[in-house]
């Protein structure tokens, strides 16, 4: 595959980089990333991956764009309110970069559909806003041996970590089980500063890009936290993969995917 003049110019700032170059850009164009959730995290992640020329990007979300989303979900505009988020996201990405094929899945991930959704992708981005989905994505990625980026944002805080099979702990090694119902507020109840999605979602895109190109160090075995009020980033070294982990351990006790009960928001 030779670059067209337009591609040479579009990706010139990548091609100039020694760590990317022509080969790295071709890896991106051949890369396939699935983004689960087209919200605060998924919006910036999808936009940076589309701009970077990741050739195939899948987006999973059953929701429609709501006016209250627009404070942070920058892939959607005011005219998109009421539209399926996956459709709105696809339109933005297609307008940004015609090199990208966007596959849309207007559904929520469940134990029934997730294995089929992730199977054709090289890297998964967890841009969901609830613990049942986060544990489901972790367990499915461990089972399918797929690398993924976990992230969570709330109020002025954000965190992320990366799982690569065989290269460190999974999300369940670190967090074991979803917290009890109502023990933790969702971001609908607690609020979130809009730019937090931009910071953390962009870092997730960065992890996907580095994974596809094969350069640098990923957040495997590490948890990166960001406190916007203190303006502090911390990278915490995590314990090694837990041999007793219920999903990635030596003798996993979870052999079928679990749909944990969703915590209902009182205001919805």
């Amino acid at each position: 595959m030779a670059f067209t003049n337009e591609q040479m110019e579009r990706y010139s700032r990548h091609i100039i980089l020694q760590e990317v170059g022509v080969k790295g850009q071709k890896k991106l164009l051949n890369g396939k990333v699935l983004i689960i959730g087209a919200g605060g995290l998924g919006a910036p992640a999808a936009m940076y991956l589309a701009a970077a020329g990741v050739g195939t990007i899948g987006i999973v979300d059953a929701d429609e764009v709501d006016l209250s989303n627009l404070q942070r979900q920058i892939i959607h505009g005011t005219a998109d309110v009421g539209k399926a988020k996956v459709k709105s996201a696809k339109e933005t990405m297609n307008a940004m970069n015609p090199d990208v094929t966007v596959n849309t899945y207007r559904e929520f991930v469940t134990s029934e559909n997730i294995m089929d959704l992730i199977k054709d992708y090289d890297f998964i981005i967890d841009g969901t806003d609830n613990f049942p989905a986060k544990f489901l994505i972790n367990d499915a990625c461990v089972m399918a041996k797929k690398p993924f980026s976990h992230a969570g944002i709330i109020r002025f805080k954000g965190q992320l970590m990366t799982y690569v099979p065989g290269e460190g702990p999974c999300y369940r090694c670190v967090f074991k089980n979803p917290p009890p119902k109502d023990a933790v507020p969702t971001c609908k109840q607690a609020g979130v500063i809009g730019a937090m999605g931009g910071v953390i979602g962009s870092l997730q895109a960065m992890e996907a890009i580095k994974y596809l190109i094969g350069v640098g160090d990923l957040l495997t075995g590490k948890l990166l936290t960001f406190d916007a009020l203190k303006m502090e980033f911390h990278t915490i070294k995590l314990p090694k993969a837990d041999h007793k982990c219920a999903i990635c351990g030596d003798h996993p006790t979870i052999t079928e995917l679990i749909d944990y009960e969703q915590i209902e928001c009182p205001d919805h």
């Binding site: 040479m8 010139s12 020694q18 170059g21 080969k23």
Partner: protein
């Protein structure tokens, strides 16, 4: 007498920085290790930057030929993928 054989040539006189090096780098990509690329460029910015950029990437600059018409030919041997 030239002590090298040119395997491929690329003309970057039709573009400006940073596309000059991008176009040269994309052309270099097609070569095998040990092959030689001739890059036809304008005087000025490309002559300043393109040889240096190739060196930074580990390629061997063999010669910069002044064509005495405002253009140069940079002869580069590929050492790194």
């Amino acid at each position: 007498m030239a002590d090298f054989t040119i395997d491929e040539t690329v003309d970057i006189t039709d573009v400006v920085c940073p596309m000059t090096f991008v176009k040269a780098k994309v052309a270099m990509e097609e070569l095998e290790i040990g092959q030689v690329l001739s890059v036809h460029m304008n005087d000025g910015e490309p002559v300043q930057n393109v040889p240096r950029s190739f060196k930074e990437e580990g390629q061997q600059v063999l010669k910069l030929i002044d064509n005495e018409d405002g253009t140069y030919d940079l002869i580069v041997k590929k050492l790194e993928e």
